[in-house]
Symmetry: C2
Subunit: 338 residues, 2 copies
DNA sequence: GTGAAAGCGCTAACAG
DNA sequence: CTGTTAGCGCTTTCAC
């Protein structure tokens, strides 16, 4: 029932080559026959068969997006920005949630490669490990198609990274707290991804610089990204530790919200008794009371840049392997002394 | 550089037909030759060309997921559940964000149809309109491939709906508030989607049943789903109205959070002075203080059922056109008298 | 069971 | 500028 290029060529009184040419916007077609063909296509609502086209062109204009969990409040934004930008450029997105296991990542990557996507975007830093051998699948993929990484850095031919300098953001946040006079600081996180490690670097650098005047510690909260109840339980089980600090910096807003809830339960005033800084400047930051001062890492901009880089790469243009941006501390009421 | 079915057939000393047969799990191959072929495939890491396969089978095992905005805290969950379930069944997902305009919806649908996806899933009720002519694109699509709708109902051959009875949920929520003694109720919403209209139905039914003893009103908040600041601005601009109620039911948790913030600003105690009920039982419900009593519509279950229905449909099994579930009011501290 | 051969619908030389 | 033709890699009759 679907018309083919043969039907159109016949009805238009030209060869299939000519039809194919107007289909692909070749300039080697006279304006007259082009119009003729176009009008026939239009009249019969002709749509080329995408599979045949894919076979001929070895591409279906599809980008694979890998992400650990597209329901994560931060990653879902990333996916949305990426998809919008890609769609605006005539590309489609194959979304593949991998979970947080190594096997999941590798299996999903393989699936996308087998489907011959034009490129792959890794949304989130969980895709690069600090153990070299765990990144081998990325190198392998990069030998076939462009590999674009959001929020992590990995130098290798064919791999292009777009990220925010998380170390710098956390460093700045910590320094700002110190400058404001907070002298007992805690860093709360819940991940060991690339980005998480970089944040830790920034934290450690700041602490080292003021080790003689500051008490500090790091707390790891092994709870799923959206399980507020468990986060609260965890914090309460560490109550005595938490109560000994007057400033807490969190690796994401959900953790910061949990800290706010903890503070309320223990009758601590925020920010007077306890200053809190979140990360990602998500919707959560404005849902609690007081609202969270939080690091904004300009995700929309990162995604824009990543897609722009991707098209440049596919266009054989010269693209820097790493594009780094800086985050920004957005002031609200959980920490105001700056 | 990629091997083809010809290479494999040659190395295995069989014809391409046989290779194709083992590829497709045909039982018309002797166990011996099957093993031979499989071992060769394995040895050379053979992966069939997905485009050629698509052309031959007229399918690339791909489901299109349409959603207005995959960064919406509720829709992102839906997309995640759907993708996981689909992936577990060997299918891939083409994600297409449409925005909230009619043109966006139709254009995206057309894109997916042109790509010959095996079916399409519409995540979210914004895809069905109460104006019949705006649903024509769905009927058109359904004449080609299965159309699965999440959270909306539209009866038509080839269209299968999976939803929660939102009218019932809101009706129950309102009734519960009335039973608890609240007599001045406000319904706050921000959408006119199918689901939004059904919620309104439930609301109106409840209000009609108690019109002699209750003061009630509906307020429409024309603000983007994730713009807490604007929601708050809007509520404050309607402060005198809001202050005249002692119970507010919201069409989603974000609005309910905004109400909680409003109450704090105006020194209203929740739930004593003002009871609040949210909707979706999302992460937001546990981020504010007090936490939100909220309607949970069992999204994960809905998505599971939808995908199960989809496979049944593709399998030519008999599937009910509409699968309806009931929501559940999850009790937290913004409304406790039940 | 297995193989030969004819498509699937389009792209891209190549020739004119 | 336009048409002829040979693929692209796989599926699927139809004989044997």
């Amino acid at each position: 029932m679907n018309l083919t290029i043969y039907d159109i060529s016949q009805k238009a009184g030209v060869s299939i080559a000519t039809v194919s040419r107007v289909l692909n916007g070749s300039d080697k077609v006279s304006e007259k026959t082009r119009q003729k063909v176009l009008s026939i296509m239009d009249e019969y609502h002709y749509k080329p068969n995408a599979f045949a086209r894919g076979l001929g062109l070895n591409s279906m204009q599809t980008i694979g997006i890998l992400c650990a969990d597209s329901s994560d409040i931060y990653l879902s934004k990333a996916v949305y920005y990426l998809e919008s930008k890609l769609q605006a450029n005539g590309y489609h997105c194959l979304l593949c949630c991998t979970g947080y296991s190594r096997e999941g990542r590798q299996a999903s990557m393989q699936l996308l490669l087998n489907r011959k996507v034009d490129a792959v975007i890794l949304a989130g830093s969980s895709f690069v490990s600090n153990q070299a051998e765990e990144n081998a699948y990325l190198f392998e993929a990069a030998s076939h198609i462009p590999v674009m990484i959001l929020n992590a850095e990995l130098q290798h031919p064919g791999i292009y990274c777009t990220l925010c300098d998380d170390a710098h953001s956390i460093y700045t946040a910590a320094k700002t707290m110190l400058t404001s006079g907070r002298d007992r600081l805690l860093y709360l996180n819940n991940s060991r991804s690339y980005s998480a490690l970089r944040k830790l670097d920034g934290w450690e650098k700041a602490m080292k610089e003021s080790e003689h005047t500051t008490t500090s510690s790091v707390l790891y909260c092994p709870v799923a990204h959206d399980d507020m109840e468990e986060m609260c339980v965890f914090l309460e089980s560490n109550a005595s530790l938490l109560l000994s600090y007057n400033g807490i910096i969190c690796a994401n807003d959900a953790l910061a919200v949990a800290v706010v809830k903890f503070a309320r339960k223990y009758h601590l005033n925020i920010p007077e008794d306890l200053a809190v800084i979140g990360y990602n400047n998500s919707l959560l930051a404005t849902c609690c009371e007081p609202e969270l001062t939080s690091v904004d890492n300009h995700l929309a901009q990162l995604c824009d840049q990543l897609v722009q880089n991707l098209f440049a790469v596919m266009n054989k243009e010269n693209v820097p392997p790493v594009s780094v941006y800086y985050g920004e501390l957005v002031k609200r009421n959980s920490f105001t002394d700056f």
